[in-house]
Symmetry: C2
C-alpha cells in the first residue's frame, strides 16, 4: 500500500500534465499562465492542452476532451468555470488522473447562495473517486525539481524551503521576491479553499520530505485544529517553521473562509502557540521573506551584540534605534579598536564609535574593508550590519556606493562574524538603476540583504529569538 508521504509525493512529480480549460484563442488570457510556466520551466513529460474547441496551441495538438488524450495523464491543471468543475473531476477519475489543481474561483469564498453546494460536491467527488484535489481558488504547485510552476520567471533551482500558502497572491509575491533574493524552494503549494487536500495534509507530507528543512505557512483558516496542533508540534521538532496566521481581527476573520470561533483571543492564542513550539512568527509576507533570507544566508550569530555601520550620522543613529528597540546591544568600542581605526581613518565626517559612521572614508574601498575586518575580529560582537541608502545620497556618490558595496562583499567573504546589509530601493529611475546594481552585487555574493532597516532589525530579531529558543529547549 502506498504511504501517505508517497501518495502526496506523486502529486509533486507527475509524469504528464493536462491543461483543461486553457484559452486557445487568446494568448494573453490568464488561463495560459500555467501552460507558459511549465513550458518555460522545461517540464520533461508531455503537456496536453485540452479545450472543446480543439485546434493547435504553440505547435501542440489541442485535445477536445480529456479522454481524447492518447497517453496517461497524472496531473490536471483546470481553469474551467466553477459550474463545470464537478464534471471535470469525473472525467479525471475515468482517465486515471491522480490529482487536479482547480485554479478556478467562484466557490465557498464568495459567501453567496448562488455558489453554495458546489465546493461540497467537489469534496464528495474527491473522496468517492480517489482523485485528489488542490484548491479550488488557488495557484497550485511550484516544484522546481519536477519543473512544475504556476508563473513564469520563478527560479529553476531547487532549495530547502517549502511554502504552504492558502493565498495565491501572497505565494506569487513570496516566491518571486524571496527567489530573486536567493532563497530556493523545495515545494510551494497555494491551496486555496482546500475542498480536499488542506494545510494539514501538506504539512504532514513536508515533515517527512527530505528536501525540505524550512517550512513556511501562510494560513487564514484551520480545517482541523487538533490535527494541526499535533502536526505543527512535530514539524517544529524536526524543522524550522515560520507561521503567518492571517485574518486575526474582526474583518480579517470575516474575510477568511473558515470563521474561527474565538475571534477576540485569536492573536494571543497564536502567539502562545508560536512561543510554545518555537515557531517564527512574522507579521506579514514581507517580513516572512526577510526571515527566509536571514535563515538562508546568515549563520546563527549566537548572540545579540552588534556593530552597526551607517552612511551619515543620522542614518547610523536611526539604524541603532531600530536594533536597540528590539533588544539588540551595541557594545562600546574599546580604545584599542578605535586606535586601530584611527590609524587610517579620518576623524572629520566619520563617527568611530558604535554605531560607526564611515561615510567620509567611503571613497576608499581598502579602508572600508580594513575597518570591517577590525570590527568583525572584535570578540565582543556577534554580528555586523552595514546600511546603504541610495535614495538619500546625492548623485556624486552613486558610483562610490557601488564600490562600497563591492568592498562590503569582500569584507563579508573574509569575515569571522556574520554580516548583513541594508540597501533601500530608490524609486526614481536613475537612482533605481544604481540601486539595482548594488543589489546585484549583494545577491551575486549570496549575502543577507534587506530593503529597510526596520525590516532587517525585525528579521534578525525573529531569527535570533528562534535560535535562543532552540538553545532553551
Amino acid at each position: 500500500m502506498t504511504s501517505f508521504y508517497d501518495s502526496l509525493d506523486l502529486i509533486f512529480h507527475p509524469r504528464s500534465v493536462a491543461f483543461v480549460g486553457i484559452s486557445i484563442s487568446n494568448p494573453f488570457h490568464w488561463t495560459r499562465t500555467f501552460w507558459y510556466s511549465c513550458r518555460e520551466f522545461g517540464f520533461q513529460g508531455p503537456l496536453y492542452p485540452v479545450n472543446p474547441s480543439g485546434g493547435e496551441l504553440d505547435g501542440c495538438h489541442v485535445y477536445k476532451s480529456l479522454d481524447e488524450v492518447p497517453g496517461e495523464v497524472d496531473f490536471v491543471i483546470s481553469t474551467v468555470s466553477a459550474g463545470i468543475a464537478p464534471e471535470i473531476v469525473r472525467n479525471c477519475a475515468d482517465k486515471g488522473v491522480k490529482a487536479i489543481h482547480f485554479c478556478t474561483a467562484g466557490f465557498d469564498e464568495t459567501g453567496e447562495t448562488a455558489t453554495a453546494g458546489l465546493q461540497g460536491e467537489l469534496s464528495r467527488l474527491a473522496h468517492e473517486t480517489g482523485v485528489r484535489i488542490i484548491g479550488p481558488n488557488c495557484m497550485g504547485i511550484y516544484c522546481p525539481a519536477s519543473r512544475l510552476s504556476y508563473d513564469t520567471g520563478f527560479e529553476k533551482e531547487s532549495g530547502n524551503v517549502a511554502f504552504i500558502s492558502q493565498s495565491g497572491a501572497n505565494s506569487l509575491y513570496l516566491v518571486r521576491e524571496a527567489g530573486w533574493r536567493g532563497v530556493r524552494f523545495s515545494k510551494v503549494i497555494s491551496y486555496g479553499n482546500a475542498c480536499d487536500l488542506n494545510e494539514c495534509d501538506f504539512l504532514e507530507y513536508l515533515i517527512d520530505d527530505a528536501e525540505t528543512s524550512i517550512i513556511a505557512l501562510y494560513m487564514e483558516g484551520v480545517s482541523d485544529g487538533r490535527r494541526f496542533l499535533r502536526l505543527i508540534e512535530k514539524a517544529a521538532r524536526k524543522k524550522t517553521v515560520i507561521l503567518i496566521k492571517a485574518g486575526l481581527g474582526e474583518a480579517g476573520a470575516r474575510a477568511t473562509i473558515t470563521h474561527t470561533a474565538s475571534l477576540a483571543g485569536n492573536d494571543m492564542i497564536w502567539e502562545t502557540l508560536c512561543r510554545q513550539f518555537n515557531l517564527i512568527r512574522p507579521k506579514n509576507v514581507e517580513e516572512m521573506v526577510d526571515v527566509l533570507v536571514t535563515l538562508t544566508f546568515m549563520p546563527d550569530p549566537g548572540g545579540r551584540n552588534a556593530v552597526l555601520i551607517g552612511m551619515g550620522g543620522g542614518t547610523s543613529v536611526g539604524l541603532t534605534d531600530e536594533f536597540e528597540r528590539r533588544g539588540f546591544r551595541l557594545p562600546v568600542l574599546p580604545q584599542s579598536i578605535r586606535q586601530k581605526l584611527m590609524g587610517f581613518s579620518q576623524l572629520a565626517g566619520n563617527m568611530l564609535h558604535n554605531p560607526i559612521d564611515y561615510s567620509q572614508d567611503m571613497i576608499s574601498s581598502d579602508k572600508l574593508i580594513s575597518a570591517v575586518d577590525i570590527l568583525t575580529d572584535w570578540d565582543e560582537i556577534n554580528f555586523c550590519v552595514g546600511f546603504l541608502r541610495p535614495s538619500q545620497m546625492p548623485p556624486y556618490v552613486w558610483l562610490v556606493m557601488l564600490k562600497w558595496s563591492q568592498a562590503l562583499v569582500k569584507a563579508y567573504l573574509g569575515s569571522r562574524k556574520p554580516l548583513a546589509f541594508i540597501c533601500d530601493n530608490a524609486i526614481l529611475p536613475e537612482r533605481h538603476t544604481i540601486t539595482f546594481s548594488l543589489w546585484q552585487e549583494f545577491i551575486k555574493a549570496r549575502v543577507p540583504v534587506y530593503y529597510s532597516y526596520p525590516g532587517a532589525a525585525e528579521a534578525l530579531r525573529l531569527v535570533v529569538r528562534y535560535n535562543e529558543g532552540k538553545q532553551e529547549a
Copy 2:
C-alpha cells in the same frame, strides 16, 4: 531693533552667497554640491566662489579671500577644514556677513581630544562677532522661495512644511523622498552640532513663520530642555508638529552629541510629551515622510471606519490585518451595497465583502470606478484604501495595472470620501518600469500614495490619532 523673527528670516533670504573652501580643481568634489545646487536652483543674487588658489569656476571669477569679494555678502557656505573655521568667522565678521553655514565636520561629534575646543571657539566667536552660525557638521538651508538649496534635484516649488533636522543625511532623504511624492517645503534646516543656532532658535522662528503650517523635527539631543518644552507647547498650539527624538537606546544616546541624563526613561518621557501636546510621533524618517504625505493630501477622514480594496484575497486579508491591528474598523458591507456591486461585478475571483478583492474585474476600468463610487458613497465609512502590488503580479497584468491606477485616480477625483493608495516598489528593472508609471499616475493626481501597507496603516493611524487629539482638546 530687529525682532528675533526678522533676524532669522534674513538668514533664509540672503541677497548674496559666498562659497568659501569650494574645490576649484575637482568638479566632482563634495564641496561643489552647494554651488551646483544654488546655480541649478537659479539663485537671484550674486554667487561668489572663494578659494585661495583663485582662477575661474563655471565662468565665474574665483576670489582668493572673502575681503576680495567686491559686493556685500549676506551668507557664507563654508566647506573649509575644521581648523580654519574660526578664522573664517573672523573674516566674515570683517566683511559684514550675517550668517555662516559650516558644512565642515570634525568638531565635538568626533568625541576626540584632538578636536576638543574648536567648537567652543566657534560658539564664542559667534557671540562676540554677532555672525550667526548654522552647524558645523550639517547640510544647512533649503529654502525654495529664496532659491537656496543644498542638493541638486530638490523641488523648486514652495510649500507649508518646515523641517528642522539635526542630521544632514536624514534631511537629504526626507526632502528628496517627500518632495518627489508631492510634499512642498517652506524652509528646511539641517543644523548639525548647533554651536550657535540650535533647534530651539529655528523652532521659535518657525512658530511665527506665516509660510509654515507643519513643523517636522528630527532631533538627537536637546540643547535647552526648558526652552524646548516652552516652545514645543506653543508650536503645537499653532501648528501641526511631527517629532522624532532619535538615539533613545543606550548606544543611540551615546552616538548623539549631547548625552541626555535619563536614558532608561527616555522613550516614556518623549511619549508622554508627545501625548500631552498632541505631537505626531513617527518612529523613523521613512514614517515621517508617510505622515507628511498624509497631512498634505488626505483630508481628515473624521473617523476610523475604512473600506479596503486589495488585489487578491490574501493581499486583502494582509491589508486588513495591518489596519485592524492599529485600531481601524472595517464595517460589514450592507446587503444593499453588495447587491449594487453584484449588479455588474463577477462573483468568481472577486470578494465583495469588506475587505474587497476586486482583482477579477480589474480588467474593466469602468467597473472599478463604479465600485469605488458605490463604496465611497456609503455613509458608514470614513475613507477608502486601494492596494496594488506590482512585485506580486504576473507579467500579463502589468499593463492592466496601469489602467487600474488611472481608474482609481478617476474614482478618487469623484469621491465624497478620502482615498489613499498603496503601490509597492518592485525592484526588478522590468517591473520597476511599470511601478514607476503607476506612481507617476498617482503623483500627477496629487493623491496620498504609500510604498507599503504597514507604512500606510501606520501613517493613517498617526494622523487620525492626531485629528482625534485636536477634537479632544
